[in-house]
Symmetry: C2
DNA sequence: CTGAAAGCGCTAACAC
DNA sequence: GTGTTAGCGCTTTCAG
């Protein structure tokens, strides 16, 4: 099923082969390859060329073992055990890409795994077995407790998500309260007063966005109508369902703040299906600023999460943790991007 | 920056510790942990419990080195060096998820990396350095030649994409010709005759879908109008641009076959922006059947690519290759999913 | 400057 | 049943 000892595994050439071919010892080859100055220039060049021409590449596993080091980081994406659904939100893909870039920049590899959100402790397995030096977890969901346990077990772990009270683990996230505030302030400034909120407030990040939403309304002297708070899921059908529910409740509304761009777009489609015009009848603001948003028709207003910075911040935080630092949680600044769906 | 030798790396307990604590030799611990029958039941239980209670986990790196085995597979996603764009198509995320599942099923880990499409040979690096037993590459694009070179170098590699003439590497893909045929046959059956094609025919997969499209038209005795062939890119703006171009050309059309669902959805939005009704004025069929499609308004007709099967097939093919088998390319069956955008 | 030897954490003959 | 020993592919003292 895989490289078995008996197989042609022998084919892969190793340092000893290069040494023999170059007429030196493996020590010298090792030194040459690692750029040590303790080796004759002529010898080094010869070895380097030999290695290159034979396409030799050092065996990282052996090197790691010997040097007790490791340059790979585990990235885990929890999935819902009920639906076992693949995350379909492009935001996650962007985050993955951003992480991959940030890790590559620092010379680290990325071991990706999906784990059942209900048994989140398995997320630490690649760490326990020494395959990775730490874990970056994308998707806090409702697993605060399990994450705390991992941290208590001294697993170096950084989570993309909201900062919560009594939190033992390190989180990096966007400033969700400020984000919710930005979006809602903007809608209020556009003269909207009946602003619906789409999102599952059981999720910490959404709860914080909701807080920002409430703060903005309060600041404007508008009372938050509970009928306008719709618990929309991030599943693909969430947007349509939320619109249906909102209409069913019959409370008038002139705007929607949706907790993800995908949710916003699905909602816009559904609203139109019911004859409502965007933004004339209903202004909409999303969250994330995925690439698609600017090409949507009409282009979507949204709260931008700084994805590139996020990847870098996650990696930086993890490496600090691994180095024994405290692991400071951070909230990245969000930014309002005004486009057509909230123009009027 | 990472686990340095001097650090607290010593903290991590190893087999010798367990052995000492259990009052046996490391051999016995090793045997107990691997479930060997050559060890006293009582001893085994004691060791197992000790290990579990201390949260001991075997060091995979050392194990791999000793056993000359490796259970991790490299998955690489090329990116365009111009745009350095993160793939934003949910189809890729689904594929990644499907691969992760298939690999997990078989007890393999996944090392994910993004590489510049222009220097695709770097894709083999994790293989050359012995970190992975082979490579699964998602995104054939236009890199047939470079892929051939990798295969010629005997790198075990399987590519998600189209089967091409003179191909040295193994591909798994959906049956693109059949897919294009299915979509177009369907539109023809719905009475459409002026069917536009959206896709970049320089990409092998798209070219094959285009062939299926042409075959279907020919079979129906409809002549393919070159003005209806629009080279749309898979970038987020591709759909809108394609619609603009099509309208600019001024050729009448009553349907669109788009080479991805995302393209189709973007196109639908743009078409509507121009006052066209879907499906009355323009019927639309996409490609992929991403989850979002069924929740789009109106629900999108599309050609389903069997994602779960794809992940499994890719993994199966790679493992066969690694085992020294020939590495048979396969085309997975596609399926037409009729929804509202082609209903009328 | 270079080589010999020890050892990273683990497994597998081979003995007892 | 269990321990002893050698060694996976590499790096690194320590001697020359």
């Amino acid at each position: 099923m895989n490289q078995t000892p008996n197989d042609k595994a022998r084919q892969r050439l190793q340092m000893a082969d290069i040494a023999r071919l170059a007429g030196v010892s493996t020590s010298t080859v090792s030194r040459a390859l690692s750029g040590s100055t303790l080796v004759n220039d002529e010898t080094r060049t010869r070895i380097l060329e030999l290695a290159r021409s034979l396409n030799y590449s050092i065996n990282i596993g052996a090197q790691n073992l010997r040097m007790k080091q490791n340059r790979t980081v585990g990235v885990v994406v929890p999935y819902d055990s009920q639906t076992r659904q693949h995350l379909s939100d492009p935001f996650f893909l962007s985050m993955l890409g951003s992480l991959a870039d940030a890790l590559t920049e620092q010379g680290f590899d990325m071991l990706l795994s999906r784990v059942d959100a209900e048994t989140l402790d398995t997320a630490a397995q690649p760490f326990d077995s020494g395959r990775v030096i730490g874990i970056i977890l994308i998707g806090q969901w409702r697993h605060h407790e399990q994450l705390n346990q991992l941290a208590a077990r001294r697993v170096p772990i950084v989570v993309w998500g909201a900062q919560l009270p009594q939190q033992l683990y390190c989180t990096i996230g966007s400033d969700n309260v400020a984000g919710g505030r930005l979006a809602t302030d903007h809608l209020v400034a556009r003269g909207r007063r009946r602003i619906a909120f789409f999102g599952d407030a059981l999720l910490p990040e959404v709860a914080q966005r909701h807080r920002g939403y409430c703060e903005a309304l309060a600041a404007a002297g508008v009372e938050a109508d509970p009928r306008l708070q719709v618990p929309a899921s991030f599943l693909p059908q969430g947007g349509g369902e939320a619109v249906a529910e909102l209409l069913r409740r019959g409370a008038p509304f002139d705007a929607v703040f949706a907790c993800s761009d995908l949710l916003a777009m699905a909602a816009i489609n559904a609203l139109r299906q019911h004859g409502l015009r965007i933004p004339e009848d209903v202004a909409v603001v999303g969250y994330d600023d995925i690439e698609l948003s600017s090409y949507f028709h009409p282009p979507l207003s949204t709260v931008r999460q700084p994805i590139r910075a996020a990847g870098r911040a996650l990696v930086t935080a993890l490496l600090a943790l691994v180095d024994g630092a405290a692991g400071e949680s951070r909230q990245l600044a969000t930014e309002l991007v005004v486009r057509a769906t909230s123009a009027a």
